[in-house]
Amino acid sequence: MNVAVAKTGKGRAVSDLFTSAEGRLPGSPAVIAARREAFETYERLGLPHRRIEEWKYTDLRALVGEVLPLAAAPDAAALASAADAVKAHAVAGARKLVLVDGVFAAGLSDVKALASEVGFKTLRETLEKDAGLLKTAAVDAVISLNAAMASDGVVLSIADGAQLSAPIQIIHVATTDSASAFTRSQVAIGKGARATIIESFVAGAKAYQVNDAVIVSIGDDADVAHIRLLDDAPDAVNITSQFVTVGANTKVNFFNMTSGAAVSRLQGFIMFAGEGSELSINGVNLLQKTEHGDTTLVVDHAVPNCVSREIFRAVVDDRAHSVFQGRIIVRPDAQKTDGKMMTRALLLSDEAEADNKPELEIFADDVSCGHGATAGALDDNLLFYLKARGLPEKQAQALLIQAFVGEAIEQIADDNLREHVIGIAERWLERRS
């Protein structure tokens, strides 16, 4: 009985969420109809909870409870405060596309410089024509919620053969306390193209929520680096879903670092659609206080002869909780698949927790797949050696933590970008109590 009452209560709050936002959400009548349908799906499912297998470790009903109302479109003051955050987090030399509280901010973005090399539209513009971008390969409650509520995003198309002269950095800035931003973006990368895409989530507010979806399609013979940096406020929520299809003979280097947010989940659905491709996925979770950070990846080897490598490092302090779920699917035809993942967790306190759930679903017989996982504390002998050389405890720990995550960070080829990421990790280390 209690359950039924609770459901009704939540259902009503959620309905207000949509009806109060509907008038502000972009899209043609067909798009609005698609949104309503997506919202109904979300309402039927409710926020994911621990009895849903994929969300076993990340019970959003317990961790988040309710979805906050859609943030108002940014006013001049919001844009001004966003400008400061952008300045602090911009990667030198990158072309910026800035979303403030879920709305594209042209004035803070480098649209002109970008337009010389890349096709660019906002999600808002795209949705005036059709609802295609609201559909994704995988669907769950948070993805449906995103489809219903997405207020804006960037839609990029990188032409065949384009060799981008600068990275593109999509910066999400939150400037409104206790409100939600829903964004959805698409990046289409043509055959033989070479591109670096950076996504940064940064804070200019408190206790906000982000629900982001990114649809990436990569053509044949391409070379792509995709870096995602979650540096949200310590009391924020960030749920991101990514859908990636990889063409033939393509190289993709994906890197994620989570160094903020009270609750975060990155769920990635990655599919090899062409043979001979190599995917390197590297992730770092830096969690402290009571933060909860979840990385859940599904790598679908739908075709033969592809390589996937996942290296994941979690540094978990205080009472924080890190989750890594990695599923590798090898379809019946996908012979000669080489898929491996390795997870290591460094637990800096007795109350820190790291869950690791690898899953191999292999339907082909001639494959090489595997996974490994370790969890442990800092090595006392190494700590003592450093202290005996004059390093105070905190500094000795910091050196060893940097070495621990270094293996994943080193996979970022671009020096400038790698330094940027190391800078974020250093700031996280300084925040440790």
Binding site: D380, N381, L382, F384, Y385, L386, K387, A388, R389, G390, L391, P392, E393, Q395, A396, L399, L400, Q402, A403, F404, G406, E407
Partner: protein, 250 residues
Amino acid sequence: MALLEVKDLKVRVEEREILHGLTLTVNEGEVHAIMGPNGSGKSTLSHVIAGKPGYEVTDGQILFKGEDLLEMDPDERAAKGVFLAFQYPVEIPGVATMTFLRTALNAQRKARGESEYSTPDFLRKVREVSKALNIPQDMLKRGVNVGFSGGEKKRNEVLQMALFEPSLCILDEMDSGLDIDALRIAADGVNALRSPKRAMVVITHYQRLLNYIVPDFVHVMSRGRVVKSGDKELALELEASGYTQFEDAA
């Protein structure tokens, strides 16, 4: 005032007493050798002086320049001038040797209220010291001791000693694993650091090292105590007669 005074030190490891009332006094400018059979507690003594956790001091004291060393964290001891060249230096993958050296040196200087080294000054100093010890620059680009041979690890310890300029150097079996040429180079490095302001405690099994680093005093340790002290002639005696005579004494 003595530089180091170990007075009637009793130390337990996991409920077992290893040092049973050890006394040792080291003055500035002196070189002391400590010899003794395997398991007699030489490394334990060096670890307790450096502040390694896991040892319980049940009695006695250690004074360094008159201050109670046992009250200080290992990093404070290092900043005050205590340096232990480990018998088994650890490998630290992912921490570049140069980063480690600079961080450590500057941490010590900061703790002493001295200014940090600038990068060029630091590099000049490292280059100077590593050249004297015949340590190639590319070794310094690797992780701390990672992939170093046994002898290279020992030379890296001497390098740090030269760089940090401590006032008390404890060398725990610096000679083990070194070939004859490497031994001479390392010993030259140590001798170059001898000064009226600095003392050395050289732990070794072999008299040979003491031909290179000539001690003022030689102590024999057995079963957790200093059982005999003398001058360098004592080392020669030991070489001839072994430790059995002291097993009973202890």
